[in-house]
Each structure stands twice: as structure tokens, then as C-alpha cells.
């Protein structure tokens, strides 16, 4: 067990060129501090110090105390990069390291004790030893073919960053998108992207445009392994993030893509991040995908659903999963997963298999529901500890216990609505003083306000299909045609779509409201209001109804986003929920505010 640093470790690391293999060095961590979700520190070897950075993946080791300030770590994989803007000075990007010793009493200075651990050996010997060390560690009894990969210095995906020029990665294409054409202000083009996974399980999305897209579209095949170099990295666009990576890659015509012949790459165990069934609530209707693991309680027969966009029939099968939280959830399997995997599961249903599914969409059908998408990945009876635990739980107690469906306690409007009327509470001035709220993705708030004005001559409703609620068009003869359902109906229903002005003591704003929320605000359905509006005689009842709704106060749950109107960005506030004001609860909020203001002004 080492109790000191590698002598002259930093000097030897800096004098390496990029083609020789890295020595493993022990350094002391000093000045450890968080920057965003990563940590930076100075690596100290007793003689020299160099700035260093640890990736976000190691943050948990620091937080748990394995890597400590003034402690020793062994650097296993790292790159020395120039600090942009400061020529000559380098910093270490550590991608792999292990804790060696916990915090020492102080920084190690020049008069180091004789280390009993790694002794500094002549450079060549050291390098040779490390090369075989690395190969043995990483490959075990490697076949000659595998060693060939070492001659091409392969970088782990986690080490890539926009400031490092030349790298080569070895990755498997775990997903391939379709080649899409687009038209924008600059002209036409085509684009497609691929999802790449390396041996460590890190994933990144790579996009190709135009010439590069055409060049590589046929080269990349899902499931095959490639060496890729000369791509560029940039920060990922949060709106379109599909994989967990701060960066995304772009390949152009000069990028190099070479299929990794007959070499086998160890397929990393699919990295799952399971969400227990009873914790699925917050993910409902969010963009974030979830992974689940559970025992299959039942499998439905295959159903055929018509896809609204192109009228194609798609097979679907529903299965019910249960887990140790004693809750069940319905998972809809689509297309191939429904037909092939679904049949497999049906055949073994009496054995109650455990399945793990990656990348599921969470919907609100019956409260909470899960749905597979094209990149969902299902593993039956996976060889992981969670599966074993689940199986033994189910065999011993799970089979007998009565479980409840996760959706049953959770109607989206009732529970969630009222609970979220008190979180993220703001005044209307928050919207007026922050015009660019919701620029990236919509932000949610709750607020208490009075409806101050409903314009009587706005288009308050649209004609909607009675089955799917989408807008219908008037048919030539009579009746209404629904594009989505591909059928005509003699009647349609009217559904609200309106803007109302709201006010509170801090300001005013315009809210957009759809049917369910507007109904709560007006107090009657759009169909009923339409009857009042078109009534003969006084015609005042319509006006009265609107008047009654005005100057009533409500609790609103709203989402704020940015919309473009003639190349101008405008704030759009949409009502997601309406609830009556609970005066006692509001008073408590006010009291809290008062005591908070007192504290800050003291």
C-alpha cells in the first residue's frame, strides 16, 4: 500500500509524447474544489504541481469520500492538454484513477519520505512494464488480434473534449437514425445521426450533414464496430439530448471511419439506471426516458393500432410489470418488441420472468404508463444483481401480495394538480421582469392571480373531433372530417382555446388556456357557452357568464416558453392546471414570505 507519491511523476508525465503508453502515477490531490458538476484539483508529486480536472463520472467518488483532498490517487488514464489561451501551460484531464490513500496531514513538499510503493525506474523499463500491465489488466488473455488495437491509441469516449484535436475512438453503433432532408434559410440539406457506445459504456451522439451524411450513411450499420477519428466535438444541445453526454460529435467529409474487422469488442453490459415503479410519477410526460426492471405478471395478446400520422397499422402488446415497491405498471411494447419479444414473454409467462427495459417513455394513460420507443432495449432475465433480488423477492413474498397499479392513486389533475400549486410559487411580476423565461425548455410555476379580462370577441373555441379532440374541417356536404381518425362525423364538439388577462398585486400577464383549464375558469363547457352566445333575445347571458368569471381568483399551474412570431421571440404562458384558492394555505405562504423578508433585511 503506497504511502507516497511517484517521485518526479508529473515531470515524467509531461515529457511523454502522445504515442508512448502512459505510466501510472501516484499523486496527491490538493486544492480539490467543485466547478459545476466536476471537480478540479492540483496534482502534487512533492516537487511539481499541475492543474487537473476529474470528469463528472468520478464526482460520486469524491462526494462519498473515497477520493479526498490531501489524499493520494493513482492516475490510470489521463491526457495532458494545453490550457486554451495559456500557451505552454498544461492541465491534466484525468479519465480514470483510483484512490490510494485517504487525506494525509498536509501537502507533500520536496523533502519527501522514501516511498515504499512505486519506485522510480528508468523510463524505458517503466514504459514497457506499463504496456504489458495495461494489456493484462484490460484484456486478460488477449488474442493477438486484440493487441493490434493497442497500436492505434484508442481514447475512451469519456475523455473526448472540444479542445483535444487528434483522437481515435473504437465504438459500436448502438442506434442509427434515418437520413432526413431539410430545408432552411441557407438552402437544402440532408442529415442523419448515430448513437455510439464504447467499451466503458459511455455514449455519444454523432451527426453528419450533406456530403458527410451521404458518405457515411451506408458505412455505418447498427451493431457494427468502427474506429473513428477526426470528428469535432461541441457542447450538446440540451433540447435534443438523447444520450447522457455533455458533448455531441459532428463528422465531416474528412473524418475517418474504419470498420473494425473481425475484432470482437467486449459488449459492455447495458448500463441501466432503474427507477422503482412507485417513483415513476415525476417522469410522467417528461422528455427524460427511464429504465425499469420488474417481474412480468401478465402478457396481453397482440393488438393492432392505427398510427395517426400515416394510417399504418402497428402491433402492440401490453405487459404488466411488478417490483418490490408492491406496485404494478403497464408497459406497452410496440412493433417488433410486441410481436417477437412479446410472444417469447407470453410463452414463459407462467415462469414469471424478470425483464429489464432501457429507454422507456413515461405517459399518463391511467395515471402512469410506460411505452417502448425504437431505441428501447429489453433484456429477459438479465444476469445482474437487481434481477436476482427481484426474483427471490417474488418467489418468496411477491407472488402472494396484492399489489396496486401505480396509476390508480394518481389522477394527473387531482393529486398532482393540487400538490404542485404550491411549488415554484411566483408573482406575475416574475414573468414580466424575465421576458426570456423558458428559452431552452418550458419552465413551470404556480401562481395565484385574478382573471381580469376575457376578450368577448376572440375565437374562444375550435371545432374538435369527438373521439380524438383534434381539429376537424367542415366537409363539403355536411358534417365534419377528422384527418387523424380518417372519418366523418355529423357532429363535432367545441373545445376551448383562449387567452385571458390575469392580474395580481405585482402586475398583469396574458395566459393561454385549453379546454379543461378554461372550463374551470369559465364554469361551463364551450358547447354550453356557445349556446348562450348564439341565443336570441337579450344575448346578455353570454356577457354575464364572462363577467362572472372576471375578477375571480384562482391558483394556476403554468408553463412558460418562447414562441417565434414573425422572427420575434415572445413569451407564451400556458395554463396547465387550475385550482380554487385555499385561503388558509395561502395565508401560511404569506406568513412564510413575511418571515423570509424579515430574515433577509436583518
Amino acid at each position: 500500500m503506497e504511502n507516497s507519491v511517484t517521485q518526479d511523476g508529473i515531470a515524467s508525465l509531461l515529457s511523454l509524447d502522445s504515442s508512448s503508453v502512459q505510466p501510472q502515477i501516484v499523486v496527491q490531490v490538493v486544492d480539490l474544489k467543485p466547478v459545476g458538476n466536476r471537480y478540479t484539483f492540483n496534482a502534487n508529486d512533492g516537487k511539481m504541481k499541475i492543474k487537473a480536472m476529474l470528469p463528472a463520472t468520478l464526482t460520486s467518488e469524491i462526494v462519498s469520500g473515497k477520493i479526498q483532498n490531501l489524499g493520494l490517487i493513482r492516475l490510470l488514464h489521463y491526457t495532458a492538454n494545453d490550457i486554451p489561451g495559456k500557451s505552454g501551460e498544461k492541465y491534466l484531464l484525468v479519465t480514470k484513477c483510483e484512490a490510494v490513500a485517504s487525506a494525509l496531514d498536509s501537502e507533500i513538499k520536496s523533502e519527501t519520505k522514501a516511498s515504499t510503493g512505486i519506485m522510480l525506474k528508468p523510463k524505458q523499463e517503466f514504459v514497457a512494464k506499463s504496456a504489458s500491465q495495461i494489456i493484462n489488466e484490460q484484456r486478460g488473455n488477449a488474442a493477438p488480434a486484440a493487441r493490434m488495437a493497442m497500436t492505434r491509441r484508442v481514447h475512451p469516449l469519456v475523455s473526448l473534449n472540444p479542445y483535444q484535436g487528434s483522437w481515435t475512438i473504437k465504438v459500436r453503433v448502438t442506434n442509427k437514425g434515418v437520413l432526413r432532408t431539410y430545408k432552411n434559410a441557407r438552402g437544402e440539406g440532408c442529415v442523419f445521426n448515430v448513437e455510439l457506445t464504447d467499451e466503458e459504456g459511455t455514449q455519444i451522439q454523432a451527426t453528419m450533414f450533406n456530403a458527410a451524411a451521404k458518405k457515411f450513411y451506408d458505412t455505418f450499420q447498427k451493431g457494427k464496430i468502427y474506429y473513428i477519428s477526426r470528428g469535432t466535438l461541441k457542447l450538446a444541445n440540451k433540447q435534443f439530448k438523447t444520450v447522457q453526454n455533455d458533448y455531441e460529435m459532428t463528422l465531416n467529409e474528412y473524418s475517418e471511419v474504419e470498420e473494425a474487422g473481425s475484432e470482437e469488442m467486449f459488449i459492455p453490459e447495458t448500463k441501466f439506471n432503474f427507477v422503482p415503479i412507485d417513483e415513476l410519477g415525476p417522469y410522467v410526460n417528461q422528455k427524460e426516458l427511464v429504465d425499469v426492471i420488474g417481474v412480468v405478471q401478465s402478457v396481453s395478446p397482440t393488438m393492432s393500432i392505427r398510427r395517426k400520422s400515416d394510417n399504418e397499422m402497428i402491433p402492440k402488446r401490453d405487459i404488466v410489470l411488478a417490483d418490490e415497491t408492491k406496485k404494478t405498471v403497464v408497459v406497452s411494447l410496440w412493433s417488433d418488441l410486441a410481436t417477437e419479444l412479446g410472444q417469447e414473454l407470453l410463452d414463459m409467462a407462467d415462469k414469471y420472468p424478470v425483464i429489464a427495459i432501457k429507454s422507456l417513455k413515461v405517459g399518463d394513460f391511467q395515471g402512469v404508463s410506460l411505452s417502448t420507443i425504437s431505441k428501447s432495449n429489453v433484456v429477459v432475465n438479465p444476469d445482474i444483481p437487481e434481477a436476482a433480488k427481484l426474483k427471490s423477492w417474488y418467489d418468496s413474498e411477491g407472488k402472494e401480495t396484492s399489489m396496486s397499479a401505480i396509476g390508480s392513486g394518481m389522477s394527473p389533475s387531482a393529486n398532482n394538480g393540487s400538490r404542485s400549486m404550491y411549488s415554484d410559487r411566483v408573482c406575475l411580476s416574475h414573468f414580466t421582469t424575465n421576458p426570456s423565461l423558458g428559452e431552452d425548455k418550458p419552465v413551470f410555476f404556480s401562481t395565484r392571480a385574478y382573471i381580469s379580462f376575457i376578450k368577448p370577441d376572440q375565437a374562444m373555441w375550435y371545432r374538435a373531433c369527438k373521439s380524438c379532440n383534434k381539429k376537424v374541417t367542415e366537409a363539403m356536404d355536411s358534417g365534419y372530417w377528422c384527418e387523424g381518425c380518417q372519418k366523418k362525423d355529423e357532429e363535432c364538439s367545441l373545445r376551448y382555446i383562449m387567452t385571458v388577462k390575469v392580474s395580481d398585486s405585482t402586475g398583469e400577464a396574458w395566459f393561454s388556456a385549453f379546454n379543461d383549464e378554461a372550463e374551470k375558469m369559465i364554469g361551463c363547457t364551450a358547447d354550453e357557452l356557445n349556446v348562450l352566445k348564439s341565443e336570441e333575445g337579450e344575448g346578455h347571458e353570454f356577457q354575464t357568464k364572462l363577467k362572472e368569471a372576471t375578477w375571480s381568483s384562482h391558483l394556476f399551474r403554468v408553463s412558460v416558453s418562447q414562441q417565434e412570431y414573425n422572427s420575434e421571440k415572445r413569451q407564451r404562458i400556458t395554463v396547465r392546471g387550475v385550482a380554487p384558492v385555499d385561503f388558509a394555505a395561502e395565508t401560511r405562504l404569506l406568513l412564510q414570505d413575511i418571515s423570509k423578508n424579515k430574515k433577509t433585511s436583518q
Binding site: 388558509a584 395565508t587 401560511r588 406568513l591 413575511i594 424579515k598
Partner: protein, 108 residues
């Protein structure tokens, strides 16, 4: 608005500051006698209210009482208002503290 005889918001412990003056408070009815009602103030002290209460003085109803504070735990009532059964005494108590403390200038 008639501001000729303002009444201070009090709870049980604040009454002593306003002996002989007009006060208002909310009590939860504990029991009633001929000519008086015994109630619990929002800070859990006993208050006796003299006068003729409205018909509904069932225990656990909340009543607002405006009148002259005779001593630190009794009021000679002039106005009674039934506040019903769902009333949050904690909120009212905080109001009394604030109205007699740092925000006194906003009230009397």
C-alpha cells in the same frame, strides 16, 4: 369606512395591553352560560365574553368578538360574528402578533 372606533387585533396574551379599550379577537367556543360565553383564544388561553351571543354557540364554533376589554381575560361584547367551523387559528394568531409587533403602524 367608519374609523371612529378602531379595534385592535388581539389574542389572549395581548389583551392586557388594551384594558378599557376596544379590541377584536376570535375565540373557539368551549361552553356558554346565561349572558356569557367561555372560549379558547387562538393562543390557547381562556377568554370570557359577556353579552348576548347569537343563537349558534355550539362548542368548537369560531366566533369573532368586538368589544371593550374589561380585564386581561374578558371582553364585553358589542358585535358577534360567526366564523364557522373551519378556521385556522394559527394564521390568526400570527396576524395578531404581527399587528401588534413590527407592523403596528399599519393598524392602529
Amino acid at each position: 369606512m367608519d374609523t371612529s372606533s378602531p379595534s385592535a387585533f388581539v389574542n389572549g396574551s395581548l389583551m392586557r395591553r388594551y384594558i378599557g379599550q376596544k379590541v377584536r379577537t376570535v375565540i373557539q367556543v368551549v361552553g356558554s352560560d346565561v349572558g356569557s360565553v367561555v372560549g379558547k383564544s387562538t393562543d390557547d388561553l381562556q377568554i370570557i365574553v359577556k353579552g348576548s351571543p347569537p343563537t349558534t354557540t355550539t362548542p368548537s364554533t369560531y366566533l369573532e368578538v368586538i368589544g371593550i376589554a374589561e380585564n386581561e381575560n374578558s371582553i364585553r361584547a358589542e358585535v358577534w360574528t360567526n366564523f364557522g367551523n373551519s378556521f385556522d387559528p394559527v394564521n390568526y394568531n400570527e396576524l395578531c402578533k404581527l399587528a401588534n409587533g413590527e407592523f403596528k403602524h399599519l393598524f392602529i
